[in-house]
Subunit: 115 residues, 2 copies
DNA sequence: ACCAGTACATAGTATCGCTGAATAGCAGCT
DNA sequence: AGCTGCTATTCAGCGATACTATGTACTGGT
């Protein structure tokens, strides 16, 4: 992708990760891999780990260290009550924004240019 | 709104403004007012003006100074060819992201279940 | 003269995601 | 034992964006 995606991910990537953790606990490497599978091929590992540190410091997740058979111990993150509330607000914010943007999209379909 | 919205607007606000300009030319103050009408009550004027300066410097818009009866001359921005292409890419990026996020939303609404 | 409304501009701050590298454990191969 | 590759986490420095707060400039009403 490119710069547009990078900027657009600001604020939403956090929600995406929280939503994934809302489904089931996971650790950083796993989350990165899952995102890649879903098409986010350009998201750097470092980005996810930094994000996980942030949401941990804000108390949105609980952490448990689990030994791995193939490397250093995994830090397994799970969404706690505070995180669930935050995720709920994320969905509200997202819905608000998405609704208005879709409205703009339908309002003036930009299908006139050719590439 | 709050901090979530602030972060989420990064990257999307530019697309929103370009989409508005794609509908018809407009000037900064007007754009700000229209955004407020649409529910974006917390978007500061300074944010819009700074954004307009950026997209002008990138050559995405053409500018025309039009005298106003009630204040300093208006800077009317209109989307040019380059800007249209950029807007088109914005919609692609947005669609990609929105699709995946909606999938996450539908994927695990409130319950966590096994697949 | 004062103030509200219109209209634009900007310096300073905080946050976020990316780049690039370092650190560390384990397995298989030579 | 050393090398390579995969797993797994961490961190410093950078670029881009939106917000805060303020300032400038013009018009009309009181």
């Amino acid at each position: 992708m490119g710069k547009q995606m990078t900027e657009m991910l600001k604020g939403t990537l956090e929600g995406i990760v929280l939503a994934i953790l809302g489904g089931q606990p996971a650790y950083g490497y796993e989350i990165t891999a899952r995102l890649r599978d879903q098409g986010f091929t350009d998201i750097a590992e470092g980005t996810i780990y930094a994000l996980l540190v942030r949401i941990e410091q804000r108390g949105l997740v609980d952490v448990e260290k689990v030994p791995s058979e193939k490397g250093p111990p995994r830090k397994v993150y799970s969404l706690n009550t505070l995180g669930s509330g935050y995720l709920e607000e994320f969905w509200k914010t997202w819905s608000f924004l998405a609704e208005r943007i879709e409205h703009l999209h339908i309002g003036h379909p930009q299908e006139q240019g050719e590439k």
